[in-house]
């Protein structure tokens, strides 16, 4: 049964349920998609049958509407984060061999708007095509990596979350992210309504908007949950499902959410763009049970090798990308460091030099490269400092070329240098001017990195 459902496009699956025409599927700021709008919407997607389509839409409502229309028509959907610089977006499109890019940005050459497609231009009718989804890994620096998912791996997690026809899901992730696709699939294939707040609202205004619309299900990163808990209108939210993902869900945030939403089921999901959905933990405790290492968990197998979590995705989850490390048994190296602590496996953080700052992966070495290029800097080193709000922040230690420098002025100058060249999460929160930086036996700078 699941195998059949897996090849059915999202839009067609909803249409099959024979909903009344006025049932709201998607509610945005002043706009809705009702069940009765689906046929026309899917018809517009037919303008791109068999094509490789890049989507780079800053408006998440448009992005969801385009995904609904194109899944099952397009050969490939390349989901591009609207934050990508134009040059990078073009390079990713070229690498993916995209035919068309649909965008509301004015800095992407050749971009077509989404929403102008006319039905009389459609020459080929809909086929239930197994659209391939190409997603980019998150990160603030360098070229994003592409990971290919088939339709089944996108919709697979819908099985693991109880369906609820009266669920009102908040869309707080960008729909171009893997986590965003999961919220779309769960809300719409689970039979509920997807609430898409205006992406220009502040966190407080977003929470207010969701509270007024009777939102019941929210999926967000631990960092975003901490922000939501700081919004006074959080008391308007009566949630039944609280989902965390994308970062380590520690005991503190789990207990704060339990206190604020006593009626809600709290689930933290382990998923990655590379592995797809891994598994869901529902006992409200950090980490996952150690006995899961010996058994099948939602079709997934887990193993720890040299302190790193390896994960074999469920049989129907097919992802591929050049950078994925996979063994002969199909286990994928996740690059997440873990440790067994009694009956629990706890996450320690990423093994590479990526630091998670408020849900964004920051490549430490790329930040150091930027600082090194400053004319007054001889040596520098980024380390992590724990932050209750962001998980981590960056601390920068700098050895100046001239020891007799005005430290305060140099700190200001380096801060401004970083502001001009780095996105906010990658900017050092604090800067220290120091006389030397410790070197390890291997000749590398010492660095303390907490996931």
């Amino acid at each position: 049964m699941f195998a059949q459902a897996a090849v059915k496009p999202i839009g067609a699956s909803i249409a099959d349920r024979q909903l009344s025409a006025d049932q709201v599927l998607v509610e945005g700021a002043g706009r809705t998609i009702r069940a009765g709008d689906l046929e026309e919407l899917i018809g517009r997607g037919a303008a791109y049958v068999g094509k490789r389509i890049g989507l780079c839409l800053t408006d998440p409502f448009d992005c969801v509407s385009a995904i609904l229309a194109l899944d099952g028509h397009a050969d490939t959907l390349l989901l591009l984060s609207p934050d990508l610089p134009a040059r990078v977006a073009e390079q990713v499109m070229a690498k993916a061999g995209g035919d068309h890019i649909l965008s509301d940005r004015d800095d992407l050459p050749g971009a077509e708007p989404w929403g102008d497609q006319r039905l009389d231009e459609v020459t080929e009718r809909a086929l239930a095509r197994n659209t391939q989804w190409l997603l980019t890994t998150s990160g603030t620096t360098g070229m994003p990596k592409l990971v290919q998912h088939d339709h089944a791996s996108i919709v697979r997690s819908v099985r693991t979350i109880a369906k609820a026809a009266d669920a009102r899901w908040a869309m707080l992730y960008d729909p171009s992210r893997f986590a965003g696709t999961q919220v779309i699939a769960q809300a719409l294939l689970g039979g509920g309504t997807l609430l898409i707040p205006d992406h220009r609202l502040s966190t407080g205004e977003t929470v207010d908007w969701l509270g007024e619309r009777g939102c019941t299900h929210v999926s967000a990163t631990p960092s975003l949950w901490r922000r939501i808990l700081m919004a006074p209108s959080v008391k308007k939210l009566a949630l039944r499902q609280v989902t965390l993902g994308g970062e380590i869900a520690d005991a503190a945030i789990l207990s704060a959410l339990r206190g604020r939403f006593p009626e809600a089921r709290i689930t933290h999901i382990y998923a990655s763009t590379e592995a797809g959905t891994g598994f869901a933990v529902r006992d409200g405790m950090a980490g996952f049970p150690a006995d899961w290492l010996d058994q099948d968990v939602d079709g997934v197998r887990l193993a720890i090798r040299d302190g790193i979590l390896w994960l074999r995705p469920a049989a129907d989850t097919m992802t591929s990308a050049e950078h994925i490390e996979r063994d002969a048994q199909g286990f994928i190296r996740t690059a997440d460091r873990v440790t067994v602590d009694g009956e629990r496996v706890m996450f320690l953080g990423r093994e590479d030099m990526a630091l998670n700052v408020g849900g964004t992966k920051v490549q430490v070495e790329a930040v150091e490269d930027v600082v090194h290029a400053h004319p007054a800097v001889a040596q520098c080193r980024i380390s992590a400092r724990p932050s209750a709000m962001m998980g981590n922040l960056l601390t920068l230690s700098v050895v100046p070329k001239e020891q007799a420098v005005d430290a305060a002025a140099l700190k200001r100058d380096i801060a401004s240098w970083c502001r001009d060249q780095l996105p906010a999460p990658a900017r050092p929160a604090t800067i220290r001017i120091v006389p030397e930086i410790a070197i390890t036996a291997a000749g590398k700078q010492q660095r303390a990195v907490h996931g």
Partner: protein, 104 residues
């Protein structure tokens, strides 16, 4: 976390401060950070000011907390078992006052 040899960069020693002194330090640092990023005048932090409505996002508040840690020698958010999510400036200040070192 700090792997630089001790002596070169002494860790700040927490000093007892009154509520008014804490308030003044937090406001001064808030305004300093504001001016690094923007050209308009910083908002005035009143007791009932909602933190997320100041124009500072949660990233900026996290940076403020880190800089206060460097200056005051403590970060109340990493000192308590029970997570605290202050919504207003008064709650933020209460939390710093509660966790600040007390005069002997």
């Amino acid at each position: 976390m700090n792997q630089i040899s001790p002596g070169f960069y002494p860790e700040p020693q927490p000093v007892p401060m009154t509520r008014d002194q804490l308030r003044a330090r937090i406001i001064a640092l808030f305004e300093e950070m504001w001016r690094e990023d923007r050209d308009d005048e910083p908002v005035t932090l009143e007791n009932d000011t909602v933190l997320l409505e100041t124009g500072f996002d949660s990233m900026a508040f996290a940076v403020l907390v880190a800089r206060l840690d460097d200056e005051l020698g403590f970060d109340p958010f990493t000192m308590t078992e029970d997570p605290v999510y202050p919504q207003t400036f008064a709650e933020f200040l209460d939390f710093y006052e509660k966790c600040s070192p007390k005069p002997q």
